[in-house]
């Protein structure tokens, strides 16, 4: 069989992977970043088993003392200590950023697939789908969030069962906003991908007796969704960054927390550089992850042939 076989086990994958220094550094940075986040979150959920809630995982004073003792780094000791002091806030805000992005993306996808299918294959439903996507893509996301939060006051309608999940009900409003908006963008990407599936395959599906919907499900979607992965990854990345708009409806996510500390300490540059790096780490993680997904579901000859 000539098909491109992928390394099966983790060991093989590691063996097959590129071991350049840059790559190793990136992996190490990723491990450090996610290790810090996960430990911080778990510490908070378990009521501060490792360090008291709100305290950094490593002592800021110790970091400052260590750096101060090192020639050349002493000048940065105070800034480093400040950043370490900041980390509990960052970890807390990042949790909401990650949750809002992930939930909105996944639920948005579930909505986007039928929207895209309706757009390509529907008649009346194609118009509905078009109207929806144009409305949501054609108006500012922030305005949509304001309508949901201030206009419709949806936060006060969050069901009791849900309201306990997050400290603030408004988180659900943000998730709803990003879901509805993201669904429109995702639908647009998926639509393009569905349209690139050859007509002849649909004919072939119908010719063996599959109904139109069955043909879409068994023939068009498996290919179209694969084609959609690269542009869908872009939407993922956008959503991570756009999720910061939730701050404007008072959701205490990453940007909100950073802004809060900054307005108290006036150390805008340092705080937003660190916050920016945190977003960057999330974005890189997302695109790496999607690259892996794309590889894992790749089929020889389908879409862009990858260099093996």
């Amino acid at each position: 069989m000539a098909s491109a076989t992928r390394p099966a086990t983790v060991r093989e994958r590691v063996a097959a992977s590129d071991r350049s220094i840059g790559r190793l550094l990136l992996v190490a940075a990723g491990a450090l970043f996610w290790g810090w986040l996960l430990v911080s979150w778990v510490n908070r959920w378990l009521g501060g088993v490792l360090v008291p809630i709100g305290e950094p995982l490593v002592s800021a004073a110790a970091v400052e003392a260590t750096l101060a003792a090192l020639p050349g780094l002493a000048a940065y000791a105070a800034d480093a200590a400040f950043v370490v002091e900041l980390t509990p806030q960052l970890a807390r805000g990042t949790w909401l950023t990650v949750v809002i992005t992930a939930v909105s993306l996944v639920v948005g996808f579930v909505i986007a697939v039928p929207l895209a299918v309706a757009r390509v294959y529907g008649r009346f439903s194609a118009w509905l789908s078009l109207a929806y996507t144009e409305l949501l893509r054609g108006t500012p996301l922030l305005a949509q969030l304001f309508v949901l939060y201030y206009g419709l006051n949806l936060a006060s309608y969050v069901p009791g069962a849900l309201s306990g999940v997050f400290a603030r009900g408004v988180v659900w409003v943000a998730i709803l906003g990003f879901t509805l908006n993201g669904a429109a963008y995702q639908a647009e990407y998926i639509r393009g991908a569905l349209e690139s599936v050859e007509e002849g395959q649909i004919t072939a599906g119908r010719a063996i007796g599959l109904s139109k919907l069955e043909t879409i499900y068994h023939v068009v979607l498996p290919q179209g969704l694969r084609y959609a992965i690269p542009s869908w990854t872009n939407e993922f990345v956008y959503l991570i960054k756009y999720s910061s708009l939730a701050a404007f409806i008072t959701v205490p996510e990453l940007y909100y927390r950073a802004d809060q500390v900054a307005s108290e300490t006036f150390r805008y540059t340092l705080i937003f550089v660190v916050t920016g790096v945190t977003y960057l780490a999330l974005v890189l993680t997302a695109s790496k992850l999607m690259g892996r997904v794309e590889e894992a579901v790749a089929i020889p000859g389908l879409g862009v042939e990858r260099e093996e």
Partner: protein, 248 residues
């Protein structure tokens, strides 16, 4: 000449918008017959085939398949397509499925066989067209001739009572045509009823019971291959055959 007690196409007409692409087309087949449709490009051959499995809708006329009116609005179209296999000029394989996956999809999803039974049936059909060693290859990994044989196996897996072939070899490099014709010969030997659009004259000569010449949507002439190829009655038929021959 056939009695047409298996497939009887009577005065079928079809328009695309204002353009009439089939004019009162009639021909008939018995079970086990092989009928070859020939004609210039755009003469309506594909459209005629597609009317038989309702991928295209004829507006007038009648197509009776095994006693049932195909053009009836009450007909279960998916049921019809289960019984009529189709092979395409461009293969139209499902690009995301292996050879086995392509062939098993119909049995699994349309006939409702279990995963294992559908796979077993797919393997049998691929074996039948000489592809037992390519079961898990994806379409992109197969030659055109192999892809077309998967296309044939995919249609056969539904155990159709009629097979439609729409120029099955015209997208193939010359050296790959033989293997597809060989697979089709195999079906003829097994007694499959086949309606074939092709310009492979030697194939038509060897296996066709009747050749139907279509031009601009009209049946210009029909008859046994020897007669039609050697002593065409209509001038248009003769000219077309000369053109085809000079291409070979």
């Amino acid at each position: 000449m056939s009695d047409g007690d298996f497939l009887r196409v009577t005065d079928v007409s079809k328009w695309y918008g204002d353009e009439r692409v089939l004019h009162d087309v009639s021909f008939e087949m018995d079970r086990g017959d092989v009928t070859v449709l020939i004609g210039p490009s755009g003469s309506g051959k594909s459209t005629m085939l597609r009317c038989v499995n309702r991928l295209a809708e004829a507006q007038e006329g009648s197509i009776r398949l095994d006693g049932e009116e195909v053009l009836s609005p009450d007909l279960d179209v998916d049921e019809l397509r289960r019984e009529v296999g189709m092979v395409f000029q461009g293969f139209n394989l499902f690009a995301h499925l292996t050879a086995v996956g392509n062939v098993a999809l119909g049995p699994r999803r349309v006939l409702g066989l279990s995963e294992a039974d559908a796979r077993e049936r797919a393997e049998e059909q691929l074996d039948r067209v000489g592809l037992a060693d390519q079961l898990d290859s994806y379409p992109a990994e197969l030659s055109g001739g192999q892809q077309q044989r998967v296309g044939i196996a995919r249609a056969l897996a539904m155990e159709p009572k009629l097979m439609l072939f729409d120029e099955p070899t015209s997208a193939l490099d010359p050296e790959l045509i033989g293997e597809v014709l060989e697979a089709m010969h195999g079906l003829v030997d097994e007694g499959m009823t086949m309606l074939v659009v092709t310009h492979e004259m030697s194939f038509a000569r060897e296996v066709a019971d009747e050749v139907v010449f279509l031009d601009e949507g009209h049946v210009v002439e029909r008859g046994p291959p020897d007669q039609l190829f050697e002593r065409p009655e209509k001038e248009r038929t003769g000219r077309f055959l000369e053109r085809i021959a000079s291409h070979d």
